[in-house]
Symmetry: C2
């Protein structure tokens, strides 16, 4: 009786909504800061992975970012049009497409180095606070992903490979 149904609906709104709002607020700050680089926020995430790993197939990129080809294909096409990456079918496996940084894409990294500092400043959070929050969010994501599989309409254990 502490939490009648009405309160449940209210509390619920606040949890999911806070996350939704925070995500969009982050997006907004990145949008402003990344405009100089000519990148959107998701494009920046792709570039971060490429700057770290150099070159990798679309599949691997998707695993790092939890995105599928439906999202990545058009995004990569835009990065290619911007001259930042090249896409080439792998010689060994013609199904796979290797995404590589162009010289221009690699060079952009230097200009991107100041982004993290500006973002960190925008949050007003210290490094430790950020680390703690990140850990919390990762726990949450792991739990939610597991739950999505279980709840899934065909929530069959068949999906839960390994």
């Amino acid at each position: 009786m502490n939490t009648p149904d009405d309160d449940w609906l209210r509390l619920d709104q606040q949890i999911c909504f806070s996350l939704h709002a925070a995500s969009r607020a982050f997006n907004g700050v990145y949008r402003v800061i990344l405009k100089d680089l000519g990148l959107t926020y998701p494009q920046y995430l792709v570039m971060l992975v490429l700057w770290e790993h150099g070159e990798l197939p679309v599949k691997k990129l998707g695993e790092h970012l939890r995105l599928d080809s439906g999202t990545l294909s058009p995004l990569l096409k835009r990065l290619e049009a911007a001259g930042l990456v090249s896409r080439e079918r792998s010689a060994r496996d013609e199904r796979s497409v290797e995404v590589r940084l162009t010289e221009e894409g690699s060079a952009l990294r230097r200009r991107a180095l100041e982004v993290p500092r500006r973002i960190a400043a925008s949050t007003g959070f210290g490094a430790d606070e950020i680390r703690a929050l990140r850990a919390r969010l990762d726990e949450l994501t792991t739990a939610l992903d597991a739950a999505a599989l279980a709840e899934s309409p065909g929530g069959s254990p068949a999906d839960a490979r390994s």
Copy 2:
């Protein structure tokens, strides 16, 4: 020298990315659970506000949800097509449009009551943990919003009305 540039770019990826991933993970769980109700996640957020406030103009709805008419207009049109809400120009101010729950929309609330519990279970977090995380995220959002204004290209004090 504790944090060379490389580490900054890595850490940065993790903060923004964790939030991005958590938000999408939440979205995924809601997608599954809300499918029964025929609602998308943002549509559910709109319905939550309407269930709480009954009826209100698009503008107010946008303030509660931090969404503008560009997002809300088509979304509300879909909710109207689904028979859950009605839209009617206000008599007192013809610019404004009042969004009201239909009987069907009000009735849907009963079926939505179980959603919060299922979501809470999916997170695996306790009520206190959720509250703490929500508070943290709200701080973050406030800070980011303020920063976005300041960073804004025309980050002129002219924008900061009042």
